[in-house]
Symmetry: C2
Subunit: 363 residues, 2 copies
């Protein structure tokens, strides 16, 4: 059980009432016992740094900013429901909140994958721009609405790594027959390239790789991958993470539960999601650069770049996979249109800003 | 006067009490009239989009998330104090909050410039990583503490443009005698290159450029520059923004006023700053790409890239300027050490993640 006791000092002794300091807060809560006691189910292993820390930060922020009027009990994967049943648990009201990744729901909601980050898609700064100011959030809300679930961004890994391999990838032929853990559109691309993609949860990765149930796996990046100990089994660590340039995590909120909150608590939940999104990306960026060096210098990991022709082939297959996904689902078609249109539009600005700046900086 | 009336429906009719719906919020506030009425002074012109919108969002978020227990009156530059006296106003308690840019206080706090973004320095994702998880925030807080001011990030322009010029820059010699608006370390670099840097506030830019008081100016990027109408005067728009790859804005908080807030309201203020930081960067990224196209296609602006040898020269001068700044001020030396160390450490991770991904995406 990973129940954190947050705000221990502030909340200690307050069983039924919500606010602790009527003299300071301007909120006399003695008369009320209306704290909301919510559950948050997650897709992450017990005490898992990174993804799990983001879930903790999210819950902690909501509790603290609401002065304990919303109290959240966090469940790791398999404590209340398995990793891949988080969406259903929030939809049914088993839990009011979920912390997970949109890509996991592609079987139920094909368009969901676009909100995780797609192969050869947008980087975090571009993705957030699309989400907050390019129509992305509205489409995402529409996609989950039939299930009574509201989605908010609540974490980003930044660009990921290409994954851990037990043998080298020197040409596209080396992907033939390769059993590799990968979810989402990337998995379909791998399949077309002759590999056998498998989707298993984070907690199962190490054992699956160790027993040979899979030959390769991606997860998130140096910091979080190191926490799983994947370098102890697979010697080759490939880049770039072509399949997930912006690994967005989500806070799922049961819409009926959300509607019961007063306006200020709804605002506090929404704001906490955005804050978590900002802080997790910063944390991963800072820790990835440290972990990368440790993996190479201390653990002897072999950094490998995917050959250019492998990247070109996967990019071509990605275009095919996306085109087919658009043909099969009307909402996916609209989401892809919006996503790709925004990405195209961003290229000229990127060229004159970030790209030109980096040229000058590295000169 | 730019006093926004936020949350009109929620707060209407509540003069002395703070919370409106004791039956829903679990907070019975009838007994208290302890709303905090704060002033926020800003360095931005009246009704200014972008920078001004970020200040509005920040105030709105604090008001909404506190259910009106903190109410904020916003002042544009010159309404209460001039643009460049925002820091002093917050330090003295004339206003509890300020929304401005760290670079403006270099005369008083030389190290402040590093928290705005420095020439050839870190991009937003790298900068936020340093700030939240690399020791940056602690140093920033230390720098402002002697003045009774607490700093938080509260907005980011993303990478900026190099600026607007009335004549072309074909070599470093073309900078000789050029009167250009630029604040911070960039200004010192320009000076060494033979130019005459001038620091004037945003509201004065158009007129200064029109009357020939300055020959060139930078501001923020296509979206916000367009709002000033700079393209109506200067035909050449240069890139990259070598001087400010991450234009960070700040929320300044009077430390004594902050200490009077109960814990939940302190947390709400801090969180609102981070949310504003996230959302403003997304807004600028989205709107910059649209504005860039409009400037070129509809207004006939001439996009120009600074010649490579100009960039190399400015980069060399930047190293000299930073070295001298470190010699002159002990805290600047520590801040620069931390900043540059983090930037160096980030390079390998950037190479295998963002850079390698962009190579594959554009191939």
């Amino acid at each position: 059980m990973r129940r954190r006791t947050l705000l221990t000092s502030a909340i200690a002794g307050i069983a039924a009432t919500a606010c602790s300091k009527p003299d300071e807060t301007g909120a006399d809560c003695e008369s009320s016992g209306r704290a909301f006691r919510w559950k948050m189910v997650t897709s992450w292993p017990t005490n898992f740094p990174g993804f799990g820390s983001a879930a903790n930060l999210l819950a902690e922020t909501i509790e603290r900013n609401s002065n304990g009027r919303v109290r959240i009990r966090i469940f790791a994967a398999d404590e209340l429901v398995p990793a891949f049943e988080v969406f259903d648990a929030v939809s049914s009201g088993t839990a009011e909140l979920g912390h997970s990744a949109p890509v996991y729901w592609k079987g139920k909601i094909p368009s969901a994958q676009f909100f995780s980050g797609i192969p050869f898609g947008m980087l975090p700064m571009e993705f957030n721009a699309w989400l907050y100011h390019g129509g992305g959030q509205e489409l995402w809300s529409e996609a989950y609405a039939p299930f009574g679930v509201m989605p908010f961004t609540a974490g980003n890994t930044g660009p990921q790594m290409g994954g851990w391999f037990r043998r080298e990838i020197e040409s596209i032929d080396d992907l033939a027959g390769l059993k590799m853990r990968m979810p989402g559109l990337g998995a379909e691309v791998l399949q077309r390239a002759g590999a056998t993609p498998v989707n298993i949860s984070g907690a199962e990765l190490f054992t699956a790789l160790q027993t040979g149930a899979i030959d390769a796996t991606e997860w998130a990046g140096p910091y979080n991958d190191q926490a799983f100990g994947l370098h102890e089994i697979a010697p080759y660590y490939y880049y770039p993470g072509w399949h997930e340039p912006s690994g967005t995590l989500e806070c799922l909120v049961n819409a009926a539960a959300f509607a019961q909150l007063p306006e200020d608590l709804r605002a506090i939940v929404r704001s906490a999601c955005r804050e978590t999104n900002e802080v997790m990306l910063a944390e991963f960026t800072a820790r990835n650069q440290v972990a990368l060096r440790q993996l190479v210098d201390e653990h002897g990991v072999e950094l490998r770049r995917f050959p250019d022709d492998v990247m070109r082939r996967l990019k071509k297959l990605t275009a095919e996979v996306i085109a087919e996904a658009r043909d099969h689902d009307a909402l996916t078609d609209r989401v892809a249109e919006s996503y790709s249109g925004f990405q195209r539009q961003s290229l000229e600005w990127r060229r004159v800003s970030t790209d030109a700046f980096l040229d000058a900086r590295s000169d």
